[in-house]
């Protein structure tokens, strides 16, 4: 018998906000334990939550990017479970009226195009972190992550292979990064995924027994887990190796196996109820339109436009539209200098090289597009040489600056003083008659030696073409 796998995903994404969802504590990753805490996110009695507007903004943005319907009245609910990483003994989340519902995400795999339906996107708070201490046999609680804002993106069970899951997650990551909803870094836990999986005979319209694997945080682990679970389900159905039960399982990537988790008798009984402390959030037209108008072009739309409007090749357009930061810088630079080809070159070769050297990703580019455009103008109009322009670019990686002013202050302007160039050339020729003779005798290399000496003397502030021509003229005269 042939089987098909039915997979639905719950993807948690940490939102790129400065502060937490219901209090003003920092939402930044990686602080000393319990440094980003206050009575509200520690669940002290009497504290009231106040919704961070930016969380709703980003929730709506995610919804719009994934073609969802936005609920113009959205409410928060309490999900009860008792565990020390949750100081209130409930998580504030959305159950009855989530911010976005009924979306659609297009993916592409080796089998072609497919649309994955999104059931809903809801806003919620993260939980804290527990460290188990063997020495004292206690658990230690860190509330820094408590109340850090998340969205959970719940798909319909429309995925049917590990390949489709990877394509779906990569698409989500690309869209959410583009819209600056989240940096979606799986390795830092800002994107994690619960996999719901069942198996059924091909063509059947009945769903099989479903198991869930929680908190998966790498694409390769997800692929392995899906392959293992699929095989386990099929084996159970075909050979009766075990009885499948609906349960939550933990994926152990080192052992390459999934294990049933304990305490399942109480799982799922979350007793959701409306949070009486948070009144409904009503998104009026001004708010809604503001977010709608701030949405970025989809990456593939931008790519097509870069090719048709700016005449870029597909390869270049692909690299640029792989990151929102590159796009922003590119568009800023083109607006300033009007030279798309040059702007693309500077970004794809020079900026990418510098990013690699600093072990940064394209998304971490901070170079100001307008400033890059000004730099390009200075090179194309012959004010500064390419080599010195690269030095200025390095400085621009440190902080934004005006390239013309910086070049002036650091003596990087090309010399148009032919008198000075002439003087330097004459000195070089007088100092090295052997090189002159060698060049006349047919040794091309000898010219490079003289050229280098002159360039050094001029501190690089000379158009190489001008210097070369003047140098050859002078040698021929000698």
């Amino acid at each position: 018998m042939k089987f098909e796998t039915v997979i639905g995903l719950e993807v948690h994404v940490e939102l790129a906000t400065k502060s937490k969802i219901f209090c003003s504590c920092s939402a930044k990753f990686g602080a000393e334990q319990n440094d980003h805490v206050c009575p509200a996110c520690c669940g002290m009695p009497g504290m009231l939550p106040i919704v961070n507007k930016n969380v709703v903004n980003l929730g709506m943005t995610a919804g719009m990017m994934l073609n969802c319907h936005i609920n113009r009245t959205t409410t928060f609910d309490k999900k009860s479970y008792y565990y020390p990483d949750l100081p209130c003994s409930y998580q504030t989340t959305q159950w009855f009226a989530p911010v976005a519902v009924n979306g659609l995400v297009d993916i592409e795999t080796s089998k072609g195009k497919k649309s994955i339906r999104i059931k809903q996107i809801h806003m919620e708070e993260d939980a804290g972190k527990l460290v188990h201490d063997d020495w004292t046999n206690t658990s230690l609680v860190d509330f820094n992550r408590t109340s850090v804002p998340l969205i959970e993106i719940v798909s319909q069970p429309d995925l049917s292979s590990a390949e489709e899951v990877v394509a779906y997650l990569e698409r989500l990551r690309s869209l959410l990064r583009f819209a600056k909803v989240s940096d979606c870094r799986m390795e830092q836990g800002s994107m994690r995924c619960d996999v719901n999986l069942s198996v059924r005979p091909e063509g059947s319209d009945q769903l099989g027994v479903r198991t869930e694997m929680k908190n998966m945080n790498s694409l390769s682990a997800i692929v392995r887990a899906i392959e293992y679970e699929t095989a386990r389900h099929i084996d159970a159905i075909e050979n009766g190796t075990e009885e499948l039960v609906q349960e939550t399982r933990r994926w152990d990537d080192v052992k390459g196996k999934s294990f049933a988790m304990r305490n399942k008798e109480t799982a799922g009984d979350y007793r959701y109820f409306p949070d009486p402390n948070i009144m409904p959030v009503v998104i009026d037209d001004t708010w809604y339109d503001g977010i709608k108008n701030s949405l970025p072009e989809f990456p593939e739309v931008k790519k097509a436009r870069y090719m048709s409007e700016f005449g870029l090749g597909e390869y270049d357009a692909d690299i640029l539209t792989g990151s929102r930061a590159l796009c922003d810088c590119f568009e800023g630079a083109v607006a300033e200098c009007g030279n798309a080809k040059e702007a693309a070159n500077w970004l794809i070769s020079d900026c990418m090289n510098l990013l690699n050297k600093n072990q940064q990703t394209a998304d971490q580019l901070t170079v100001n597009g307008t400033s890059l455009g000004k730099l390009i103008k200075l090179v194309t109009d012959g004010t500064i040489g390419r080599g010195n322009a690269k030095k200025i670019l390095i400085a621009m990686f440190e902080k934004d600056l005006d390239p013309a002013k910086y070049a002036e202050e650091n003596g990087l302007i090309l010399s148009n003083d032919t008198g000075l160039i002439d003087k330097v050339i004459k000195e070089a020729i007088a100092a090295d008659p052997k090189a002159v003779a060698d060049f006349k005798g047919g040794k091309e290399k000898a010219l490079m030696a003289l050229f280098g000496k002159c360039m050094k003397q001029l501190k690089g502030n000379c158009d190489p073409q001008v210097l070369r021509t003047m140098l050859i003229d002078e040698i021929n005269k000698a």
Binding site: T17, K18, S19, S24, C25, S26, A27, E32, Q33, N34, D35, H36, V37, C38, P39, C42, M44, I50, V51, N52, K53, N54, V55, V56, T75, S80, Y81, Y82, Y83, P84, S89, F96, L130, V131, H132, D133, T136, N137, T138, S139, L140, V141, D142, F143, T266, D269, R271, P274, P276, I278, M279, P280, V281, V282
Partner: protein, 93 residues
Amino acid sequence: MDQTTLQSLEKLNQLRLTDAEKEAVLAFFARQDKEMAVLDAIDTERVERMVHVMPILTVVREDVEKKLFTRDELQKGAPETMDGYWQVPRLVE
């Protein structure tokens, strides 16, 4: 409310009730059940679900980060702490 429901609620809330407390809780819920039965008798077929009684909306705040408390202040009332962590009985994973 019966013994089984009460037991599962005890478990969910990590509570341990004495027999006398259980008696009291069961008696309380028996009274509540009677009152709920009165409400249940009302036809609410076409009534929209109401969550919040007051016609007011939530106030939202701008996304500004502020540090208003120190860790030491917050842990003053904690029964046990260790290296800046709150310390609780060990949980078996």
